[in-house]
């Protein structure tokens, strides 16, 4: 495969597209598919053919505004429809080339304002199960360029220059990581893509894998070339069947086109990728636990050092990056590190994909430049809090992160700013809460998550999360004392300082951040036996609810 062949493939795709006057793109992401977007697509195709329009209805990946799904995008006019039903197919087909169907306007307002698509640049424009369409959008140009024009050192130099940092949450400089693995001597090295996204409310990696799987494979192949690896693994949760299916197809197609296998692009470089399914343990997102899981062992972390860069999969030097990190690689190589670094803040470059969920008008997948404020994301793109409720807090970073209150809404998003404010970037979950959320209950929810997801290897995490969960339950039930709060804070400190891996070390974060910003809510539960948000059932309310539940059982 060389540049000319890529261009030929692209020309063929364009040629086919030119045969049609209209293109109706139907979202085949998990949430739209759950609402039968596949049937909608068939119906539109049939109806369009019925009224003699030169139209093709295509399958594409997630378009972003999931709450308005199933989504349909009509090209070349660029009209979006939301909440489409199978019965709307006829109307959509008839409207092609005429006035759009006003009734199906998704009411997205300023959803796309300020968004900047780099990772998601192909999303909604290509069929995820068609490698040729990926190539037509500039796909695999970067791999060909890296293999034929650049040395591995030059590839790493560009990545380092881009200022790209790990998108899985830690924010470790990607260039530095690649450089370390490249320098470690080893006959066999591995590249691992971490797709074990498990934070509550996060679906960025799933969407990328479902919508543009080739992009991740290309990023992995470039990384393998840079560090001298010949084998790669993509570790995906088994709970993502659609992502797994699309990845499987993508890997087969990439092999057939010669982007994976022996002698890639007529060079001596060989690289192949296999999928490994996670059995649904959150801790397997931790790199050493993930490696143990791929090795077929119990998914538990081990103390570091040695880091995977030195001794990883089967003791070999291993590069492990997140899905979104790999998805950022191809454009960096195609356009250069400086281009990438031109966007973002001083120490956080490029864009970040967020899964915007919770009490928000427009739930969905968004990609924004680093440095954008939380207010712009939540109130601009997300459309604010619905039903006249008041914004209370936004949770970022999943169970490792924290809740930020209103006064931090003008915080510019970057790795360091979020940590200073007591939260963290995490993989990109962003859960908005309004005045009907009790912050103690929120902290309790995340603690319950950490408690059930603890692997059980080290005692502070295994037993400490149980104790903290019980104390939080006590507070929620209005049965706690000030001494319990002290004990909770003490446990937070000890568990955070002594746990073996990131799961336990960050498990107290949701408690600590809510204590920092919403201490008055804790105190209201403890001193006044009252839940300010009216969520927790305390005292009489609890007894009444208890009695009601009983009556129901007996009735």
């Amino acid at each position: 495969m060389n540049v000319e062949e890529l261009q030929q493939i692209a020309a063929a795709v364009e040629g086919e597209r030119a045969q049609y006057e209209y293109e109706v793109n139907v979202c085949m992401g998990t949430s739209c598919l759950a609402q039968h977007s596949d049937r909608i697509r068939e119906a539109i195709e049939k109806e369009a053919a019925g009224c003699g329009k030169k139209c093709r209805a295509r399958r594409t990946g997630c378009m972003g505004p999931c709450a308005a799904g199933p989504m349909v995008l009509v090209e070349p006019a660029g009209i979006r429809y939301g909440h489409v039903l199978e019965t709307d197919a006829k109307e959509i087909a008839e409207s092609l080339g005429r006035k759009p169907v006003a009734r199906l306007d998704p009411q997205l307002g300023s959803y796309f304002e300020g968004q900047h698509f780099r990772v998601l640049e192909n999303v909604g424009h290509i069929d995820p199960e068609n490698v040729e369409e990926y190539i037509a959008r500039g796909g695999y140009e970067a791999l060909v360029k890296a293999l034929t024009e650049m040395t591995p050192a030059q590839v790493i130099e560009q990545i380092a220059k881009s200022g790209l940092r790990g998108r899985g949450g830690g924010g470790y400089p990607t260039g530095l990581k690649w450089d370390t693995v490249a320098k470690v001597k080893g006959a066999q090295k591995y590249v691992i893509c971490n797709g074990d996204e498990g934070d509550p409310g996060a679906f960025m990696d799933r969407s990328v894998l479902e919508s543009d799987p080739q992009r991740v494979i290309e990023g992995m192949a470039i990384a393998a070339y840079a560090i001298g690896a010949t084998k790669g693994y993509i570790y995906v949760r088994a709970e993502y069947p659609l992502a797994v299916q699309r990845l499987t197809v993508a890997i087969q197609q990439a092999r057939r086109r010669g982007f994976l296998g022996n002698g890639i692009c007529e060079t001596t470089f060989s690289f192949d990728v296999d999928i490994r399914l996670g059995a649904g343990a959150f801790v397997c997102g931790e790199e050493t636990a993930l490696i143990a899981s791929i090795e077929g062992k119990r998914g538990t972390p081990r103390p570091r050092p040695p880091y995977p860069a030195v001794s990883g999969l089967w003791g070999a030097p291993t590069l492990i990056n997140n899905v979104e990190t790999f998805a950022n690689v191809a454009p960096v190589i195609r356009k250069g590190g400086e281009w990438f670094a031109s966007m973002g803040t001083a120490r956080s470059k490029g864009t970040k994909v967020f899964a915007l969920t919770g009490k928000i008008e427009r739930t969905g997948l968004v990609e924004v430049p680093m440095g954008m404020t939380l207010r712009q994301i939540i109130f601009g793109i997300g459309g604010g809090v619905p039903d006249g409720h008041k914004f209370k807090a936004v949770q970022t970073g999943g169970p490792s992160g924290g809740c930020l209150p209103e006064e931090h809404l003008d915080l510019s998003i970057s790795y360091d700013a979020l940590i200073t404010a007591g939260s963290m970037m995490g993989s990109g979950g962003m859960i908005v809460m309004d005045d009907t959320s009790c912050m103690v209950s929120v902290a309790r929810f995340f603690m319950e998550f950490c408690m059930t997801e603890s692997c059980g290897k080290c005692v502070p995490c295994r037993a400490g999360t149980v104790q903290m969960y019980e104390l939080l339950t006590k507070i929620c039930q209005g049965e706690a004392t000030r001494r319990d709060l002290e004990k909770l804070e003490e446990l937070c400190e000890v568990v955070g300082a002594t746990s073996l891996c990131g799961l336990g070390q960050t498990a107290p974060n949701p408690v600590l951040s809510t204590l920092r910003y919403f201490r008055h809510e804790y105190l209201a539960h403890i001193d006044e036996k009252r839940c300010p948000a009216g969520v927790c059932e305390i005292g009489d309310a609890r007894r009444l609810a208890h009695d009601a539940a009983r009556t129901e059982v007996h009735a």
Binding site: A281, V283, R298, R302, P303, M451, T452, E453, S454, C455, G456, K457, C458, V459, P460, R462, A463, G464, T465, V466, Q467, E470, K487, E490, L491, V494, A497, T498, S499, L500, Q505
Partner: protein, 240 residues
């Protein structure tokens, strides 16, 4: 490389000491009679760094480091005891006690238990955290040994000795979090295990009363894990 190049000098609790480059902080400290409490560590077995009792402060390190897996480095400044570390260790111990049904007065290992001695040594007077009182089974199906999960601290010494020294791999861990349990084979009764050689090494290395020999009580329940380092040296000698 000359022999001198493999020696590192460091300070532990402000005492200047030297150690081989491949030694851990724990090994170096014990050679110089500096006390670092441990529970999951046992000489002769691989390290897991799970009990978190050997955490020490190393100057310049962002976090506390487990002494059992951290290698010595030139110029390292290690602190093994401070008000903060001692407080953390006590709390970790409390977590151990509150997690399962550790009631010393009615335990077969009373007086010979590493968890009990640690509590005494670290000056733990009481457990403030509420006991969890989980309902855990006791498996007495083996003709010679019993496993009482109520006393287990999940140090995985039994798992390691069975796999690494005996080579039977009878013991394993199932479940996760607080529901973790050491099991024989695929959670079959110990007595019905087809892989168990009844060698009893797991019983000897168990730090508490979780694994014990039947028909023994009082002074006779003392464990003797000292065989391990010797066994290892003998075997290494054979290989040479």
């Amino acid at each position: 490389m000359s022999a001198e190049a493999n020696i590192r000098t460091l300070t532990i609790d402000e005492v200047d000491i030297s150690a081989r480059a491949d030694e851990t902080i724990l090994e170096a400290a014990r050679e110089h009679n500096i006390d670092i409490p441990t529970l999951c560590h046992l000489e002769g077995l691989s390290e897991v760094g799970a009990c978190r009792l050997c955490l020490v402060e190393v100057k310049g390190a962002r976090r506390l480091l487990p002494a059992c897996v951290t290698r010595v480095e030139e110029g390292m400044e290690v602190t093994t005891h401070s008000a903060k570390i001692d407080r953390y260790r006590q709390m970790v111990l409390e977590l151990f006690f509150a997690e399962r049904n550790h009631v010393c007065s009615v335990c077969v290992a009373n007086g010979h238990c590493e968890l009990q001695s640690l509590a005494l040594r670290l000056g733990m007077t009481h457990v403030e955290l509420p006991y969890q009182y989980p309902q855990l089974p006791v498996d007495a199906s083996h003709p010679r040994f019993t496993v009482d999960h109520n006393r287990c601290v999940l140090c995985t010494r039994c798992v390691r000795v069975c796999g690494e020294v005996e080579g039977a791999n009878t013991w394993g861990v199932m479940g996760r979090g607080a529901q973790s349990l050491v099991i024989t084979d695929l959670k079959e009764p110990w007595g019905e295990s087809e892989t168990c050689t009844s060698c009893g090494k797991c019983v000897q290395v168990c730090p508490t009363g979780a694994l014990f020999e039947k028909n023994r009580a009082g002074t006779k329940t003392a464990k003797h894990p000292e065989f391990l380092p010797y066994l290892r040296i003998m075997r290494e000698g054979e290989q040479r």
